[in-house]
Every structure is written in C-alpha cells, then in structure tokens.
Symmetry: C2
Subunit: 149 residues, 2 copies
C-alpha cells in the first residue's frame, strides 16, 4: 500500500491511543479497516478503565467491528507491535495486513505473522514511540502487567 | 497433575459449554484456575449471544478473572483445543498449563504452546467431542465464522 495511506490510517490508531492516555489508560490504539478502506471498528487498551485485561487495542477494534463473515482484505492498524495474543487474533481470523506504528519499545509477533503470509507494514512513527516510551518510564509495573511479564 | 483433577476441572468448562449451547451459542467453555486450585474466572463463547467475535471461551474466562499480577502457576481448562487467538493469549500472559477437553473436531495451537513450555494435558473427552461434532454438523457456517474460515 502507499506509505501515505498507511500513515493516514495510523492516525486513527493514534487518536485512539491518545484517548486512552487521556482516560488514564495504557496508550495503545488500533483500528480495523475493510478492503474498501472504510473503518470497521476502532478502539484502545482498556485494562485500567474497565479493569479488563482482555481488551488490548487490537481486540477492542476487532470487537467493535462486530461479526464479519470474512476478514480477507482487511487491515489492522495498531500503534504498537502486536503481542502474541493480538498476533494470534490476526492469524486465526485471516486478517490480511497489519500496519505497525512502532516496534522499538516492544517487539511482538509481527515477524511470525509475516512468516504466515500476513503483509506487515512497519512504520517507525516518532509519536507512537514517544507515547509508549514515556508511559513505560512512568508506569513500568502497569506496562509489565499488560504484557504478562 | 492427577488425571482425576484434570477431569474435575474440565467439568467446570463443560458446564460453561452447556450453558452456551442452552443460550443458542457455540458450545465451548473454559475456566482459569489459580495455582491454589481456586477458580479465578470462567466463561463461554459469546459470538451469538452478544454479537461479539472477540469473546471465545478462553478470553471470557481470562476477562472474568480480572487483572492479575502474574499468571504463573495458573491453568486454563477448555473444552476444545485453543485457536491461535486463544493460544496467543496463553503464551503472552505466561499461563502455565492448558487442559484441553478434545482436539478431534478442531486442532488449534496446543502443540505450539507445548513447544514454548506450556504444560498441555490433552484429554479425549467424549462429551466435549459430541457437543462440538453435533454443533458443527448443524451449524457449519457459524462454526467457520467463529474460527475465521
């Protein structure tokens, strides 16, 4: 896909991440785009807000999209490299592409997804990096809880 | 673990699966047990009931357990071999053991989990098999939707 499109879609995920931060939560956001470029669902991590460890940004976006007969041609855009949980989601449901805002502060399962045929667009977005770097510096225990370390 | 304990814990997951079936849903149930043998959370697939594709049995049990500082020593018991999504959950959060009711009607990621140090107890429970076999026979499209095929 064109780099400009990837950046534009990342903007949706970044808006979700900022909203999560403003709520006192972990600043990771995501959106699921359909093959036609429309947003099917968007969301952000809700561990803090809802006391819900199962709602990562990617699972929130996936849930918000509701039931879909197929994920062929869809794109998950996320501000941070997807953890194994969210990588497993992408693989199981056959989501075709993942746009990753950054993989500097956390390196999840995107290489594994690439090996299994998922198109990976790895950006190195400075705002995504600074959001997570600042958050981890100020909230290390919360961050480690969120990724099970 | 003792086979009798694994069977007893599977009973909790089976009760969840039966409850899901009674609600008109996909009959897969799960529970997360703490290292001390207490139930931390339990649940079942809610795709049909809530129109929520993100709530598989394992993620429902995980969510119901709330925020946990560590999953060391915990056991996820599920009526069916966990899909990649749920296998990723187990790996990411360091759940120590998975008890699988059956892997006949669906073979998910439990071999991958075993390769990564998760203890797998694979039962071959006839009620788990018949629940899924009958359900898939009667609802093939719904089942394929649930596993993204």
């Amino acid at each position: 896909m064109a780099p400009s499109s990837a950046r534009a879609w990342l903007g949706t995920a970044l808006a979700e991440a900022r909203a999560g931060l403003a709520e006192g939560g972990i600043p990771i956001g995501a959106a699921l785009y359909g093959a036609d470029g429309t947003v099917l669902g968007r969301g952000h991590n809700r561990r803090v807000q809802d006391g819900d460890p199962s709602t990562h940004a990617e699972t929130a976006a996936f849930r918000a999209a509701g039931r879909q007969r197929s994920y062929r041609g869809t794109t998950m855009v996320t501000t941070l490299s997807p953890c194994w949980y969210c990588s497993g989601l992408v693989r199981q449901f056959g989501i075709s592409r993942v746009i990753v805002g950054e993989a500097v502060t956390f390196h999840g399962g995107h290489d594994w997804l690439a090996e299994h045929g998922v198109e990976i667009v790895l950006l190195d977005d400075p705002e995504c990096v600074s959001l997570m770097r600042d958050f981890i510096r100020d909230n290390p225990a919360l961050w480690h809880e969120d990724i099970g370390e």
